[in-house]
């Protein structure tokens, strides 16, 4: 059992197979994350699918300036967008992959991963072959 604290509350559900928490607007459109402030009253939280497809991706090769607060020394990482069919396309870290593995449209699975020694964050990884 990990003692890592989520990087922020309310990003994903607290269950055995956690899911991102999106927000459904009155017009049916789903957004992520759930907005704060007065806008929160206008949406309905909704747990999102754990499975989607890769919409786009890139590498982060240089260390971002503040407010980036990742572990030292800096390790390059992958980020991308994953389309959760019929729901929303979310921006996310991509783990367990190298750039040569990634193909737009490939199946991706949600996972909670360590961010640093104290905090966890969300990510997607390529769906493992059965």
């Amino acid at each position: 059992m990990s003692a890592l604290a989520p990087i922020a509350p309310g990003l994903w559900t607290d269950e055995a197979e956690p899911r991102l928490i999106g927000a459904r607007r009155a017009d049916g459109e789903i957004i992520f994350p759930v907005p704060s402030g007065d806008a929160a009253a206008l949406v309905e939280p909704v747990a999102l699918s754990r499975n989607g497809t890769l919409w786009s991706w890139t590498t982060q090769g240089f260390e971002p300036k503040e407010p980036y607060s990742g572990p030292q020394p800096f390790q390059p990482f992958l980020i991308g967008y994953v389309e959760l069919p019929g729901e929303v396309i979310v921006e996310t870290r991509i783990v367990d992959a190298s750039p040569t593995d990634l193909v737009i449209g490939m199946p991706m699975t949600f996972v909670v991963v360590p961010f640093d020694d104290a905090r966890s964050t969300y990510a997607f990884r390529p769906e493992r072959q059965p």
């Binding site: 999106g22 957004i31 590498t59 982060q60 971002p64 991308g80 921006e91 737009i104």
Partner: protein
């Protein structure tokens, strides 16, 4: 009311790095250049608009320019600061509120990528903390998908950068004045895949000022004038994919550039085929490629042929970014959009020297794009 509004003076402070001169002082320099070009005095300016993103308020410039009691409105509108100043100055003259107005934009950024504050954009802190709030990532993510869908090659990304640096060697206000060959561009360190370090512009310094006038004033002064056929500034429509987006709609949507471009063409009563020279937002190589299509100059995927055939070179059928664009000039946010209009003014007046577009260009098109999803288009006619 004034039906037609003209640019009668254009001034620029060279872009790049000028140690020991503040962003605002670079702005004052550009204003004096523009006034001299227009053949007027500061006291003749009846209304002024200007600003910067990171170098302070523009109206303080009256300390140097003269305390003439001129109404001076500070513009703080991120990447659209220059475009907003131009829109406001044009509208003031069109409304008949004055006959001579000034638009000025300047900036001075520290080295390295921009570091935006999440709260300034209505975003949660974790978005920045986890390293997802970088403008460079957005452009890489957008072109990565675009290349996969529309068959754009990495080589074409490289050709855009090679053209920019080649044009920069011919331009006295450019920052990067040395050519960079295609192999060096393609094999340079990757910043955000597929974009290498030579495919990205850098935050920089610089200033641009434009003097605008009514037709009546142009006739009175006998100015070397360029007509502003249209200015359209638009924020993002529903469902668009923009910089700093933790999520995007699965339903797709419009693009601020497409909306602004259509409005500008409609207002000017012309189409993309009538444009003789264009300055398109090239934050990185892919942005120029995508903006060629979003502004209506080609269909998605045709850019591959455009770059291979050299159609966007100076001397090509529709030259793009004749001064080297953001890639060669750098991006001082407050000045960058006005630099494009400055360059079109230079080209339409036939004062481009070594980088002059041949055969007397008649229509110049400029397009700036920025956070959090906005575009401003200006069309100039000779």
């Amino acid at each position: 009311m004034n039906d037609d509004v003209y640019i009668i003076g254009a001034g620029i402070h060279p872009f790049g790095r000028t140690d020991g001169r503040s962003g605002r002082d670079q702005g004052v320099y550009a204003v004096r250049e523009a006034l001299g070009d227009a053949g007027i005095e500061w006291g003749d300016v009846e209304f002024a608009y200007g600003g910067s993103a990171a170098a302070g308020s523009a109206d303080i410039m009256v300390n140097e320019l003269g305390l003439t009691s001129v109404p001076f409105i500070n513009v703080a509108n991120g990447c659209a600061t220059g475009g907003s100043a131009l829109t406001a100055a044009r509208n003031a003259i069109a409304a008949g509120a004055c006959d001579i107005a000034l638009a000025v934009g300047f900036d001075k950024h520290p080295r390295g990528a921009f570091n935006a504050k999440p709260s300034d954009y209505g975003l949660p802190e974790w978005y920045g903390e986890t390293g997802m709030m970088l403008t460079t990532q957005f452009f890489a993510l957008k072109i990565q998908r675009y290349m996969a869908i529309h068959g754009i090659s990495r080589r074409t990304l490289g050709l855009v950068a090679e053209k920019a640096f080649r044009n920069g060697t011919l331009c006295d206000h450019a920052w990067r004045r040395s050519p960079v060959d295609l192999d060096t561009i393609l094999n340079a360190p990757m910043v955000n895949d597929p974009l290498t370090k030579y495919m990205f512009c850098s935050p920089a310094e610089g200033a641009v000022a434009l003097v605008l006038a009514s037709g009546k004033k142009v006739r009175e002064l006998g100015s070397d004038a360029v007509r502003i056929a249209s200015v359209a500034f638009r924020t993002r429509p529903e469902g668009s994919f923009e910089v700093f987006a933790p999520s995007i709609s699965v339903n797709g949507g419009g693009k601020p550039t497409e909306v602004a471009s259509r409005a500008a063409f409609e207002m000017a009563g012309i189409g993309p085929e009538d444009v003789s020279v264009a300055q398109l937002q090239d934050t990185e190589s892919g942005a120029e490629i995508m903006h060629m299509a979003e502004n209506g100059f080609c269909s998605d995927g045709e850019q591959e042929q455009w770059l291979a055939e050299g159609w966007s070179e100076i001397g090509g059928k529709m030259p793009i970014n004749t001064d080297g664009g953001c890639l060669a000039c750098g991006e001082p946010i407050g000045a960058s959009g006005l630099r494009q209009v400055y360059e079109n003014t230079v080209q339409l007046r036939g004062r481009g020297g070594e980088r002059q577009v041949p055969n007397g260009p008649k229509v110049g098109y400029s397009h700036v794009y920025g956070a959090p999803g906005l575009s401003a288009v200006a069309i100039l006619e000779r």
